[in-house]
Structure formats: C-alpha cells, structure tokens
C-alpha cells in the first residue's frame, strides 16, 4: 500500500516539475525562432522608436529568465497567458478552449468507437486461434492501419461527399451531425488494429490461466467461459496500455484530419498559430496539453487501482 500511494504522490509532485521544465524549454525556443517578438508586435511600424516602445511594453528588454518569470507568474497568479498576436483583444484561454472542446468531442467519439469495435474483435480472434479467421481479421485491420490518414481522408471525402452526397465535405456543426462521419471514420479505423491486437494477446494469456481450466472442467460452455471468466481478466491490461497509446495517436491524427477537413479544432489552430508565429498561443496549448496528458494517465492508473484488487494488494505493479 505504501509503495502504491507513494507512486501516486510522486507522480502528482512530478507534474509541476514537468510543467516547469517544459515551459522553460518551450519559452526559450519560441524566443529564439524566426520573426522575433519585437518585429511581430511592432507590425507595420518599422523604426527603432517603435521597437523600443514594444520592447518596453512587453518587457522584452529584460533578460530571458526575467521574462520567463513574469510570463510564468502571470499564468499562475492571473491565468493570463500573455497577448495573442492574431487575436489581440481576446484572452488566450477564451480562444483555445472552444477549439479544444471541438477536438475533444470528435476524439471522444472515435475513442469509444475504437474500443467498442477493437476489443470484441481481438477477443474473437483469440478464441478463433488456429483457424483462418484469426490471421484474416488481424491482417485486415493491419492493412487499414497502414493507410495514412492523409490518403484516407481525401478518398472518404470523394466517395461519401462528392460522389454520393451523404455527408458534408468538411467543417463541424455539432456532435451528432453528419459532419462527424468522416472525421470519426478517419480517426477510428487506424486505431482498431492496435486495440484488437492488444485484446488478442491479453485474451490468449488469460486463456492459459488456471481458473479458466477450472471453469472448463466444471463443464461450463465455451461461451460462458469466455464471457464470464476470460474477458474480465483480459480487458484490464488493454485499458492500461491502449488508453495511453490511443490518446497520443488521436491527438496526432486529429491535426491532419482537422487541416484536411477544415474543422475548427485545436490541431488546426496549432498549425495556424505556428504559421502566424503566434508563440504565446502555442506555449499555452503545449502547457495545457501536457498537463492534460499527465493527469489523464494518472486518472487511468487510479481507475485501475479501483478496478483491480491485485494491484491494490501489491501483487501486480503499475507499469
């Protein structure tokens, strides 16, 4: 119990430290990039006087560690991420949270769908081990995973939208509308193979366990053995490994899908902000994204501790 709570406390303490190191590295990189902040903020006024005024206004004449300290204390004390270059009259959180919400809804949909299709498929493949169904299923989904999103999306748009006119070719009008169809398919299809493969491996492992042999020996039908005994044990490890993996791939896949389909989500916004050299916005997104990712992983660990008594008893460690 001690090791476990220690593990969680260490992770929690580690989060601020991670954010501190990441933020300083990022801050330094952005102050180093093309189009230094001074010439960006001064806009059309390109003389020394304007540069000086801008330097003073934004504290850019200070050494970098002092700039960093001011920037950081503004975030911690006032929740102020500094001025955005593209949208000067709006606070950065007001700009990015609606965009994150759009991306989050699409990702959530795809995430749930990936698991609901992937886990049963993997279990089915494991049960059918030794027949042609197992390699055929896994092979089919490996094939789908190998199609780059960059190629899949234009093909989907061509058929579903341009040829058959079933769904709009892009944009986003809400969670339960036709505009969700293409992004959901494009995000779900590549992920299924990964989840199905994990489910297959962990089901195969669970099928060798003693209690499964006992269940069979009791004369239970194969269906009951699988659904009542094997699945309970095999689904848990999938959750741990797959959620982390899937979160990352969803975020990365979302960027290309949002660019290709013109969805006003956070991935596309990162891309636009990099193009516009709006570094305060990118810093804010990376900081919030990092925090969310670490917290999500911690939440998964906590969830597992609640679900699996063996971890609680210290018989099994967290990764």
């Amino acid at each position: 119990m001690d090791g476990l709570s220690g593990h969680i406390i260490r992770r929690l303490l580690f989060l601020p430290l991670t954010l501190l190191i990441v933020s300083f590295a990022m801050f330094y990189i952005t102050r180093w990039g093309p189009g230094d902040p001074i010439s960006i903020y001064s806009g059309q006024y390109r003389d020394e006087e304007a540069f000086d005024r801008v330097r003073e206004q934004y504290g850019l004449d200070l050494p970098i560690y002092q700039q960093y300290r001011i920037w950081l204390s503004d975030i911690v004390l006032h929740g102020d991420f500094g001025p955005s270059f593209q949208y000067r009259d709006r606070d950065i959180p007001d700009i990015i949270f609606p965009k994150m919400w759009v991306s989050f809804r699409i990702a959530l949909f795809a995430f749930i769908l990936t698991f609901f299709i992937g886990i049963p498929l993997g279990i089915y493949a494991a049960v059918k081990r030794g027949s042609w169904i197992d390699p055929a299923l896994i092979g089919t989904f490996l094939f789908f995973r190998s199609i780059p999103v960059l190629v899949l999306v234009p093909i989907l748009v061509l058929f579903l939208s341009d040829r058959w006119g079933l769904v709009p070719p892009g944009g986003f009008d809400g969670m339960f509308t036709a505009s969700m169809v293409i992004p959901t398919i494009a995000l779900t299809v590549p992920g299924i193979a990964g989840v199905a493969r994990l489910a297959r491996t962990s089901t195969l492992l669970a099928m060798d366990d003693d209690f499964v042999r006992t269940a069979r020996a009791k004369g239970l039908s194969e269906y009951v053995v699988i659904t009542r005994h094997v699945v309970r044990v095999s689904v848990l490890p999938i959750m741990t490994t797959a959620i982390g993996l899937d979160l990352v791939s969803l975020i990365e896949g979302a960027l290309f899908i949002e660019i290709l389909l013109g969805i006003p989500g956070i991935g596309r916004f990162v891309f636009e902000s990099v193009g516009a050299q709006d570094y305060n916005v990118i810093l804010a997104i990376v900081m919030i994204g990092t925090a969310a990712f670490v917290i999500a992983n911690l939440a998964v660990d906590l969830m597992l501790i609640v679900i699996d008594p063996r971890i609680r008893a210290g018989q099994r460690g967290l990764n």
Binding site: T30, G33, L150, V151, L255
Partner: protein, 323 residues
C-alpha cells in the same frame, strides 16, 4: 576392444550444426512466407531509394509545362503533375528521402540512444536511472506533433544559417544543394523524441539480466561499465531492438511525411511522399487526377504495411515464449 561406430555420430553432428540463437531466429523467420514477402518489398523499395539517381528516368525537378497532368503513358508510366514533372521519378526520389531519414533516425534515435540510455539506466540504477527515465517521462508527456512542428519551425532558420555559414568557410554548396540540412534537422528532432519507448523496454530487460551469473562474473574480473553493457548485456536485449526497429522505421517514415505535408519538413523542390501527397490531395485535383494521390499514397501504404507485418512476425519469432 569394442568397436565404436562413429560414422552415425558424425552424421548426427552434421545434421545439427552448431547454430547461434540469431541464426535460428533468422531461419524461423524465413519459414514465414508473408514475412519474407514483406522483407523483399522493403528491401526492394530501399534499394530503389538508394539507387534513385541511376534508376529514375527524369530528374525530380525537371519540368515540362506542355505536358502537365498527363495520364499514364510509355514516357511517363505514372503520369505527370501540374508542372509536367514525371511522377515515377518523383516517387523514386521521394523514396530516397524516406530511406535517408529513416536510416539516419533509426541509427541514432532508434538504436544508439535507446540502447545506451536504456542499458545504462537498467545497469547503473540509482540517480543515473532517475535522470534518464525522468527526462524520458517529460519528453513522452509532451504533445508530440505540435512540438515537432514548433521545433522544426523555430530551429530551421538558425540551423540553415549556421550551415550556410559553415559552407562559406569550407567553400562548398553541397549541404544546401542536396537538402542535407533539412534531412539533418528532421532526423535530429525525430531522434530527440524517438528514444523513450525503446529505452524503457531495454531498461526493464536489463533489470532481469543484470543479476545473471555471467554479469557477476564479468564484474568480478573488473570489467568496465561500457564493456559489461556492450559485450555482456547487449546480446540479451538485441531481440527487443530488432522488434522495435520494424515499428520505428514505419513510424519515422510517417512522421517525416506528415511534417513535410504541412510544409515544415523537407523543403521543395526536393521530393518527399509528404509533398507528393500534399500535391495530390486537394479535392479538385483528386477528383480529376486520382493517380496523383493514389500512387504515392499506395507506395507509402505498401511500405508501412510491410513494416507492420514484418514487425508482427519478428515479435512472434523473437519474443514468444512458446517456441
């Protein structure tokens, strides 16, 4: 005096030649037809990439504006693009880009970094372990793609300026002409983030290996840490490296394609599959000239599929318990 017939014994020995584990693994892999096919496809594509300048019928930037958007023909087997550039040649040179990026990144971020750092962390433990693994934890907590974009965008002008400066001193234009500066930047950034997963796996494996008798024996002889790492521990972690390699090659190839697609990777006119896909994916182009997207997309798909299937087979052959 009993007569011992040794002929049958030599026969037996001849049938069972002394084989190394690596050789046995290779033989087991060769028995899987699908894996062999994948291996051949990968090798063929990589050879095409390596010998691109001799194979390609046209140059990658050779324009012929009278022949834009041509369909497949004898002169241009895959047709031509908007500027009348030969798609076959551009695909072949794009393969060269993929070969260069994947091999360079794998050699550093895919093998050297995870191997050295993972083994060091697993063997030395203590604060060495803490520093390496905590750094990895921070890197893996970062949103990867936005970070990659940001770093390439911010570092490129400085780096290119630095390279040009260097060229002036040496008196050559080779680095910028060949796009070497771009390649180096991309592969540096990909390596920076690529080592964490592999290092973690290797560290866990070394944890179990370091207690083995042969390691203790080596320590008692006073072997140095590098010697123990590379001489005694490395053979034990090689299977992990080989399995990880196949997946890593595919992931690196895709990352470069993605970066180039959004315009921060390999710069035009040097071709990359990312640039080819970006040229072919606008709706108006794809509707009228689907081959501009489907051909480069198909090649990428074939390559990634081969890596995935080969990785699966390697995983079965090298790490499965029920041999």
């Amino acid at each position: 005096m009993a007569y011992i017939d040794t002929s049958s014994m030599t026969e037996y020995v001849a049938e069972q030649p002394a084989t190394s584990p690596a050789f046995r693994s290779v033989r087991r892999l060769m028995r899987r037809k699908l894996a062999v096919v994948c291996l051949i496809i990968i090798l063929a594509l990589y050879l095409i990439g390596i010998f691109a300048p001799w194979i390609a019928p046209y140059g990658y930037a050779e324009q012929n504006l009278d022949a834009s958007f041509q369909g497949p023909s004898w002169e241009h087997p895959f047709g031509t693009d908007r500027n009348g550039r030969d798609i076959l040649s551009r695909c072949i040179f794009a393969m060269q880009t993929t070969v260069a990026i994947t091999l360079a990144t794998v050699a550093t971020g895919g093998i050297m970094l995870p191997l050295t750092l993972g083994m060091l962390a697993g063997y030395r433990r203590g604060w060495t372990d803490s520093i390496i693994m905590r750094t990895g934890e921070i890197l893996s907590a970062l949103p990867g793609l936005p970070m990659l974009i940001l770093i390439t965008v911010t570092l490129r002008p400085r780096f290119v300026g630095w390279v040009e400066n260097l060229e002036d001193k040496i008196g050559t234009n080779w680095f910028t002409d060949t796009g070497f500066a771009d390649f180096f930047l991309i592969f540096f950034v990909l390596s920076l983030f690529g080592w964490v997963g592999g290092a973690r796996l290797i560290r866990t494996q070394v944890f179990t290996l370091r207690g083995a008798d042969y390691v203790t024996a080596a320590e008692s002889f006073g072997a140095s840490t590098p010697r123990i790492l590379f001489r005694h521990l490395m053979p034990g972690v090689m299977p992990l490296i080989v399995v990880g390699l196949s997946a890593a090659l595919g992931a690196i190839a895709l990352a470069e394609i993605g970066l180039t697609f959004i315009g921060v990777g390999i710069q035009p006119p040097h071709p990359s599959f990312g640039a080819l896909i970006a040229d072919g994916s606008p709706r108006s182009v794809f509707e009228n000239h689907p081959q501009l997207l489907l051909i480069p997309g198909g090649v990428v798909c074939l390559l990634i599929l081969s890596f995935n299937l080969l990785g699966d087979a390697l995983n079965d052959v090298l790490t499965s318990r029920n041999r």
